[in-house]
Symmetry: C2
Subunit: 308 residues, 2 copies
């Protein structure tokens, strides 16, 4: 493939606390702010604690999930003092690090999340973006002890609902497993190492290095599976089966156990072979999702370099 040129990525936002009980991003942003780090080499860095009220009470959100508020429709809807806090905050953030779709928007937004699922280090991104995929490929080559994966959500940018969609480029980092409200050093170190490598990549890119093309793997969402529930009360009647628990990204095949009911019965999978992820994610109980299922795809990248 022919090489593609892009302007430098000189304004980057590192965000945490979009979900107030996902502590890796919260502590990373607080530490960067305490150290007054606002420039790394050629890159100016904005650090943003995105949902401070949710962080204060250590909950995912106060009134509504902030990370579903960044669609163009919601960002442009009229708000009053009685609008949900997170909707107002989304518009503030859009003014601060966007506006979404404008030339004033940050060149790159990285939003740090945690999951109770065993997803290791995982990028989540919307449309295919050479920067995200080149950074992914770079991390895969640099972080030998961690399998770095990526999930592509096939949603048009106007409907993209999460914070990183406000930037010219952007992705979320999911890191787990980590309980809500807890900070684990292993997860913290993994994310810190990833962020350090991302800034190294940005320096190399901005200073004129060419990054060779190639192939990367990604996962695309096919469908979501809910827990078995009591049809009257709606209460869940089964847990994720031990053979599926902690096995995110391991191929799920017809006949594999997926749930174990509280009375001891096993529920088996009955569908096409797919890859589970967000297995037993805490916040998805209320969204009626026990796990997602994905297809694995290969993406071919062109070489990229900065415009000369």
């Amino acid at each position: 493939m022919e090489s593609v040129s892009f302007p430098p990525l000189s304004r980057v936002a590192v965000c945490g606390g979009t979900h107030g009980n996902e502590m890796t991003g919260v502590y990373m942003v607080r530490h960067l702010q305490k150290e007054k780090i606002d420039k790394i080499g050629s890159v100016s860095v904005s650090t943003v604690l995105t949902n401070p009220r949710a962080v204060e009470i250590c909950r995912r959100y106060v009134e509504t999930d902030l990370n579903r508020c960044f669609t163009e429709a919601l960002l442009n809807s009229p708000v009053t003092d009685s609008s949900p806090y997170e909707l107002r905050r989304a518009q503030e953030l859009n003014a601060q690090i966007g506006p979404k779709g404008s030339k004033e928007a940050m060149d790159l937004i990285i939003d740090i999340h945690n999951t109770t699922s065993n997803m290791g280090l995982c990028f989540i991104f919307y449309s295919i973006d050479w920067f995200t995929l080149h950074i992914l490929k770079y991390l895969q080559s640099k972080m030998a002890s961690v399998e770095v994966r990526a999930i592509q959500l096939d949603i048009p940018i106007a409907e993209a609902y999460s914070l990183e969609s406000v930037g010219k480029h952007g992705f979320a980092i999911e890191a787990g497993p980590q309980p809500n409200g807890v900070v684990r050093a292993d997860i913290h170190n993994m994310v810190k190492e990833a962020v350090d490598h991302i800034f190294s990549w940005l320096q190399e890119f901005n200073s004129g290095s060419t990054f060779e093309g190639g192939e990367v793997e990604a996962y695309t969402l096919v469908k979501s599976i809910d827990y078995p529930r009591n049809p009257v009360t709606g209460e869940i009647t089964a847990a994720i089966h031990s053979q599926l628990q902690d096995n995110d990204f391991k191929l799920l095949q017809r006949g594999n156990p997926i749930f174990m009911s509280f009375s001891g019965e096993t529920v088996k999978y009955d569908g096409e072979d797919l890859y589970p992820f967000f297995v037993n994610e805490c916040a998805y109980y209320e969204k009626k999702i026990a796990f997602h299922l994905a297809r694995k795809i290969k993406l071919t990248l062109p070489p990229i370099k900065v415009t000369g």
Copy 2:
């Protein structure tokens, strides 16, 4: 030691949801209630979802920690509609499965908790109680794949603050690691197996078997250690070190790493050799406890049997 006789244990309460986001007890109680299980052999069983409002919103508590409300002083304090919900609920529970210190109280109360710490299956009890220790010894002999441990809190029964202190006998079961708001099949199965064995023990005891005396180990609390904090803001500035994380009940010695600051510095332990537990328990961030330290003790049990 000479054998000791006790009346049968015929009225037992199995409780869950004292902390509304600790899901093993919640789902176990709901399942027993759905199956209408109110008698197991010679034992009448009460199943109690103890903090239903906290369960509904999936939080530890609504207004105050229910599991600190069962001191004699709080149980006997006047309450009004404006008293904290959990204080009123504690008095309701005391009427239902107590009253504490009375002959009407349940013979045995088992309260099921979860922790984000890697504590496996752990009993927590107050004063030395032959029933608790015999049941502990029995579980240790029956559950080969799990190390069953016990923590003794050295608190007089009048000042004992947690639900199980309302029964004639009682203990909490702590099971982990499990994130708040999540149910894991491995933890659920471990606790279910323990509860099944406890009811087997009760059948054997009530039917006249003699349980031989012997020795059991327990841990007694020595002190608690807080996270390093920013002296101005109070925010924590370090995570539990990876070498301590998940190593509950492994001897901590002078010079072992205990914290890793977010800027990468290691903090080492500087005290007498003790056993850490509740390492990185989510709910203890607000209580300013990073982990507890315990001393290991040996307790000698007499043989016990039912009064003839």
